[in-house]
Symmetry: C2
Subunit: 148 residues, 2 copies
DNA sequence: AAAATAGATAGTAATCATTACTATTTGTAG
DNA sequence: CTACAAATAGTAATGATTACTATCTATTTT
């Protein structure tokens, strides 16, 4: 996991290179999201930023996250109807616990991202993520010992 | 793609084996979903069934689909915030066009479902699907010729 | 075969995340 | 430092899904 070091300056540059203005809310969102290597939804991110940016509206967070995903600075995917934003843009999978909703990273099973779907030669696929569904260690135990 | 032939009788049996009553709405939903091998969301399914089952409430469709997914008769996953139900429970991937929203099946890149995540020995993973994101043949052309 | 009962349904209301709208503000190019 | 296009905040609107409850029905019991 190569961790790129992000500073306010590098983020500003990155934003502009993607045709986005380097505004205060955007920089804050990027700093939070890119420095922490974990999964956020829009609300969580807004809650985290609110203390230091009281006027930042949820709306802005939603909009910004979608823009960042569109230009490819982050990835977004959906788990259980919840939109998750991931600053880790390398190819990797996820495991989701259907009981407690935990989501963790998994090394990708297929590193060769474009190879497999190459069979569908007409599609221009850009990225993919695999979502495994099941029970995390804790919940596995609980469901083992209690019911069934 | 082995296509199991479903009749009202086999569906009734299947439902009961999974602890679900063989009710009229449920049988209708199963017939529609299991016979057609494609991706439905709850609303589409309700629209398809409404003509023949005018009193069937959307609520029932939502509930039933979730139950069927819970017992493993169908799979559910999320694309772009849209919950999709899939009667194809074999391991396979999906390709999604971010422009026109088309969703198609792809043969799975990893047939050995439990092997890879076995590294996370503590998780009890049950199934997984990979979602590829990109542009379908049609939209690829459009975006090529028009903008950018 | 009729009665009992636990589960399922329909219909309505409520919820939740997300998007739409718009007047105001703010980066950035000139 | 001005001008303009883009971004923001705040509010309202949307749309999918869930919650609730009285009624109904499949299945079990008698």
């Amino acid at each position: 996991m190569k961790q790129k070091m992000w500073t306010e300056e590098t983020i500003k540059t990155e934003l502009r290179e993607h045709g986005l203005r380097a505004t205060t809310p955007r920089i804050a969102i990027c700093l939070q999201l890119l420095q922490q290597h974990c999964h956020y939804n829009a609300q969580q991110l807004h809650e985290e930023l609110s203390p230091h940016h009281p006027t930042m509206s949820p709306n802005t967070v939603y909009l910004t996250l979608n823009q960042l995903a569109t230009v490819g600075l982050i990835r977004s995917f959906n788990v259980n109807g919840n939109t998750i934003f991931d600053s880790n843009t390398t190819t990797h999978d996820h495991a989701h616990c259907r009981h407690c909703n935990t989501l963790v990273d998994l090394p990708s099973t297929t590193k060769s991202l474009p190879k497999t779907p190459g069979k569908m030669s007409d599609w221009a696929l850009e990225w993919g993520t695999r979502l495994w569904s099941g029970l995390c260690p804790d919940c596995k135990q609980v469901t083992d010992t209690t019911s069934r």
